[in-house]
Symmetry: C2
Subunit: 424 residues, 2 copies
């Protein structure tokens, strides 16, 4: 008998009929002889509706009360799901994050899990019940106040509980069949990836792939917990995220590149004419850190000898653009830079693949494909298993399509053996 943790997102439980379908899937898993723990998000647009209500009351809701408000969303969906399971003749019990033992720090709105003590979940499983747990929420260790985990919180709840319960697998249900080699809306020939490593999945998440959140994959990697990303609308195998996708003795042709991710949510700021002195760059990025802005890529031009000045470009979430520009203008005189350029018409395209460690020439092939497609590269950054470029936002689609084809990822180019894995 296995212990299966399943997580269903908001769209999977957006209305009563969908909740009933999810209940059937849960009961089927239980009937197959598994213990089942289910993590559920708020129904559909509930969270947005609650945020809208809060905005009607005050433009600046206190974090503690906003968390209290938002956690009503999962409370509704988890109770309804438990009822739907009861209606199928199986016993289910719903638990809040606090009841499930999700202990966090006190940072309202983006609390971090510091401990998981799932005693009540274990008791429920021992008497044969299906446990339904509210995602996204916990209780602070110090103040006993209700907290929320922020973006991707429900996935993180699922992985953290699965790890604490020593589950055999954490299934993340979504509205697509798993992780794809590229966004199928851009590349119709994109294919679903049967198995991928934690490292690759983290790079994909960090580069804009929306299926799995970085934080949840990080957590799973730390505990060596297999994640199975699959569709709540079909029973097909999805994508397995594991430590070593090729450790099962099955000979398969490993692709060099696992996938092409893209992200249109960033903007680029260029600080023009920075005096080329020690500490100037540090001052710029300390200023940005002080206003809590996460920088992604950074490029510094070689200093022009004639002027003793350089340009520094970096990318950041577009939404933080105004705050960043305001903060930098405040230190313009002190630093002595000439001006700021702001461009939110950019996009990031990233190649991710553990295979590139052992395959030189990936960069050349990638850049060649982009050149052939007439795409101009504005910035470059690389990690051991990733190459990212910044391009014009209207060139993102061409860049993704060109890279996907260049690395033989299109469905019609792939050998059948790629699909040969048994899943797990």
């Amino acid at each position: 008998m296995a212990l299966v943790v399943q997580k269903y997102g908001g769209s999977s439980v957006a209305e009563a009929s969908r909740i009933k379908r999810v209940a059937q899937r849960i009961v089927a898993t239980k009937k197959a002889g598994n213990d089942v723990v289910v993590i559920v998000s708020a129904m559909g647009d509930t969270t947005d509706e609650l945020l809208e209500l809060a905005q009607q009351v005050t433009p600046l809701p206190p974090g503690r009360e906003l968390d209290m408000l938002l956690t009503a969303g999962e409370r509704i969906s988890m109770a309804l799901l438990a009822m739907a399971i009861a209606n199928l003749g199986h016993e289910a019990r719903s638990f809040t994050g606090s009841q499930a033992g999700v202990i966090t720090d006190s940072t309202h709105g983006k609390a971090r899990i510091i401990d998981v003590t799932p005693g009540r979940i274990q008791e429920a499983l021992q008497v044969g019940q299906i446990a339904i747990v509210a995602g996204f929420q916990g209780v602070s260790q110090d103040t006993k106040d209700i907290t929320t985990l922020g973006r991707g919180g429900s996935d993180t709840t699922a992985v953290a509980l699965a790890a604490a319960l020593d589950a055999d697998v954490c299934e993340i249900y979504t509205d697509v069949d798993g992780i794809f080699t590229a966004d199928p809306r851009i590349v119709p020939a994109a294919r679903q990836i049967p198995r991928i490593s934690y490292d690759e999945a983290m790079e994909m998440a960090a580069c804009g792939a929306k299926i799995l959140h970085l934080r949840c994959v990080e957590y799973a990697r730390r505990f060596g917990l297999p994640i199975h990303v699959r569709s709540s609308f079909s029973s097909r195998e999805g994508t397995w995220v594991v430590s070593d996708p090729n450790n099962e003795g099955i000979e398969m042709e490993q692709p060099i590149i696992s996938g092409v991710a893209h992200d249109r949510s960033e903007a680029k700021i260029t600080v023009v004419g920075v005096p080329d002195k020690v500490g100037e760059a540090a001052a710029i990025f300390r200023t940005l850190a002080d206003v809590e802005i996460n920088i992604d890529m950074i490029v510094q031009n070689i200093s022009a000898a004639a002027t003793g000045r350089t340009d520094i470009s970096f990318t950041l979430p577009s939404a933080d653009g105004t705050v960043a520009v305001t903060a930098l203008k405040r230190i313009q005189e002190e630093i002595g830079f000439e001006k700021l350029l702001f461009d939110d018409q950019i996009g990031k395209v990233s190649l991710v693949g553990a295979g590139m460690r052992s395959h030189p020439g990936v960069t050349a092939k990638f850049f060649g494909a982009l050149a052939d497609a007439g795409v101009n590269i504005e910035m470059i950054s690389t990690s051991e298993i990733r190459i990212s470029v910044i391009v014009g936002q209207d060139e993102v689609d061409s860049a993704v399509t060109a890279a996907h084809r260049a690395f033989d990822l299109d469905v019609d180019q792939v050998e059948a053996v790629i699909y040969g894995g048994t899943g797990r």
Copy 2:
């Protein structure tokens, strides 16, 4: 400095603008130098909407999960109210029933409060915060599951917390100015009652007056806690419910009758031709108790000597009619009664007044007034401070109007001294 507990019902917080207005009232109470604890119901129709969602999922939701679902309603309203107070520059903290220490038994849907341990509320008050508490909910002592208190639950939360905190007053806010001598929609000359005893308020509640729930008044009487029923739409004094409304040395002409209550929600069942043997009536009412039906009035005719048979009539909530009739039909043969009559076109009209203890002739005057108005009396029941009659449903208005006038309750008949009290 006084400790004031305020309770706001669902219509007082039905939308963001009303929540903001309630917040202003709370802040005004705080600014006047009081410690303030607020109990709040779910917004407007939220509870009905959640029940509708549950019905879409299953016709028979388990009680534990229904309670989990419904308690999301107060969670939303209390967080929004705390935000609205914060927006006015005052510190507020919202607390669930569980966090506020409302400990109940495990009877989901109609749990009884068995203890109140408001440590977190007291801590909040000590540091100058306004405490906002979810009404209607608690946590079971045995299972630590979330429970709801059933009808009138928020009023009961308010009175129970006020008693545990040794509050100076429990203010129940509603959409009218207090308790009236009759329903102003029927008797335009009805007037607001400035002060009323617990006993009278309980009889009024039991007889269909909808302002205060019986259970909440019972609780307040046990602890000698003054209740002030008032409108959330005005700052006028409302109705004070106290142990002795006349104990302040103010000479006032005490009316014999405090008010006329009515109730159209009952039905009457007559069991015709019951053999007049020992134990037959007991068997009938045990059968009804077994299916959890609350009987109100009972009348048994004198047995007709010729037949050795009698008729037994009783009233019960109309909604329970089908269940009662079905249960009685099952024992028809065993008991040997002839037939059942069911009538839901009835209404109950009740005179309530502590003064009737010392005023003989109230019954005669009441019945005379009804006779003059052409109203036929079907059943009668009395207590020390109440006389109730069952009449045809279409005669309820005439009966209430006639009784109200007969006992000099109409506004234009009342001496000004009636209004002379200072409230408290």
